[in-house]
C-alpha cells in the first residue's frame, strides 16, 4: 500500500529539501518507486539536489495547477541523474523556478482541491510506493493540506530556541490533524553536544519520538546541494541517521 510522507519544519533553513532528497534516494535504492513533490511554490529548490535544471523542466507543478497539463506530465524521472546504482525509481514534480510563474501563482492563487487530487493521482498513475512532499516552512494552506493528507510526517528542528517554540506549534497542529505517524528529526547538532541528551530532551519536550539526530556536517556544507549526500558519503554518521529516519517513516 502506498504512503504519503511530508517533511516539514516551522522555520526555513533546517534542511527540509536535503532530508527529503536523501530519504527519497535511500528508499529508491531499496527498490521503491518514489515520487517527490516540491510544494514550496514560493521558493522551490529541491530540483537542484536531483540535478534537474530549468532547461529540462518540461512541465512544473504550476502548469498543473493552472490546468495546462495533467499531473503525471509534470513528473521528471531523475533516477539516472543521480548516477548511482538505484534499483527503484525517483520521479520529481518540481515547482517552477521562473520568477514570473512564481509571481503568477502568488497573485492568482490556485485550486487547493486540484493540489489534493494531484497528490492522489500521482500515487495511482505513477504506481508509487511513496510520495514525499517537500513543504514550505511555517504553517500555510499548502503545508496544512500536506500534513492533513500525510500518513507520516517528519518535523525537522535545529537545537535553537526559535526552532523549539515553532516546532511546538507544528506538533500541536499535526496532532489536531490526526496524522497517523509523526517523528522529529533534530538536524545540524554541534558535534560537541551529547546526542543522547539532545534526543531525550526533545522527546520529553514534545512527547514525540525523535527518529534521528544529525550532527552538523562540514561535508554536507561542502557538498552545497551539488548532489545527494547519502550517495556521496554512504558510511557517514549523517547517512546512518538518515537511514534510521527512512526506516522510521516507513514502519
Amino acid at each position: 500500500m502506498s504512503k504519503i510522507i511530508s517533511i516539514h519544519s516551522f522555520r526555513g533553513g533546517t534542511g527540509k529539501s536535503n532530508t527529503t532528497a536523501n530519504v527519497s534516494t535511500l528508499l529508491a535504492a531499496e527498490g521503491l518507486r518514489v515520487g517527490v513533490i516540491d510544494t514550496d511554490i514560493q521558493s522551490p529548490g529541491i530540483h537542484v539536489l536531483f540535478g534537474l535544471d530549468e532547461d529540462h523542466m518540461t512541465h512544473s507543478l504550476n502548469d498543473y495547477l493552472w490546468g495546462k497539463c495533467e499531473i503525471e506530465e509534470t513528473a521528471h524521472d531523475v533516477t539516472a541523474n543521480l548516477k548511482a546504482d538505484i534499483n527503484g525509481q525517483i520521479y520529481l514534480i518540481p515547482s517552477s523556478i521562473k520568477a514570473g510563474e512564481i509571481a503568477r501563482v502568488l497573485r492568482e492563487g490556485y485550486d487547493v482541491g486540484l493540489l489534493n487530487d494531484g497528490f492522489h493521482e500521482l500515487l495511482e498513475k505513477l504506481e508509487l510506493d511513496v510520495l514525499m512532499i517537500d513543504t514550505h516552512p511555517g504553517l500555510n494552506e499548502e503545508t496544512l493540506l500536506s500534513i492533513a493528507i500525510s500518513d507520516a510526517l517528519a518535523i525537522i528542528l535545529r537545537p535553537d530556541q526559535q526552532d523549539y517554540q515553532g516546532t511546538g506549534v507544528t506538533v500541536e497542529v499535526a496532532r489536531k490533524l490526526t496524522v497517523p505517524q509523526m517523528v522529529l528529526l533534530v538536524n545540524k547538532v554541534p558535534t560537541t553536544f551529547d546526542f543522547d541528551e539532545v534526543r531525550a530532551k526533545v522527546e520529553k519536550t514534545y512527547n514525540c519520538k525523535v527518529a534521528a539526530v544529525l550532527p552538523h556536517s562540514d561535508e554536507m556544507m561542502a557538498l552545497a546541494s551539488a548532489g545527494v549526500f547519502v550517495l556521496h558519503y554512504p558510511d557517514h554518521l549523517v547517512t546512518s541517521e538518515l537511514r534510521r529516519l527512512a526506516a522510521s517513516l516507513m514502519a
Binding site: 487547493v112 489534493n116 492522489h120 493528507i149
Partner: protein, 114 residues
C-alpha cells in the same frame, strides 16, 4: 477517482457556492466534523459506510456530520458508478496580502515572461 468530470463539477460548484474549505478550517471545525473531513481528505473521497467504519461510529451519526459539512459547503456529494461518494470541496487559494506596489512589480515579471 478525480477525472475531467470531477474537475468540471468542482468548477461549477465553486461558481455556485463561493468559499469552500480552506485547510485552515480543519483546525477550527468541531471534533465530530473534523474527524469526518480528515478521513475524506486523506482518501480523497469516501462512501458513507467507509467513513462510518473508519471512525467506528454509526451510519446515522456519520450521515448527520456529512449533511452538516455539505450544508457548510465543505463537502460535496459525487456519484461514481451509481454510488454516492463524499469529497472535500476546497476553495481557491490566492495570497493577495502583499502591498499594491509589490504586485505591480510582480505583474511586470509575469508580462515579461508571456
Amino acid at each position: 477517482m478525480a477525472g475531467l468530470f470531477d474537475r468540471l463539477q468542482d468548477e461549477i460548484d465553486s461558481r455556485e457556492k463561493p468559499g469552500g474549505l480552506s485547510p485552515i478550517d480543519l483546525l477550527d471545525l468541531p471534533p465530530n466534523l473534523a474527524s469526518v473531513i480528515q478521513k475524506i481528505i486523506r482518501k480523497n473521497g469516501m462512501k458513507l459506510e467507509e467513513i462510518a467504519t473508519a471512525l467506528d461510529q454509526s451510519l446515522e451519526e456519520t450521515q448527520k456530520a456529512l449533511d452538516e459539512l455539505v450544508n457548510q459547503g465543505y463537502v460535496r456529494r459525487v456519484e461514481v458508478k451509481q454510488e454516492l461518494w463524499y469529497k472535500a470541496r476546497f476553495g481557491r487559494k490566492a495570497d493577495k496580502t502583499l502591498h499594491q506596489s509589490v504586485w505591480s512589480a510582480l505583474d511586470g515579471l509575469i508580462e515579461d515572461e508571456d
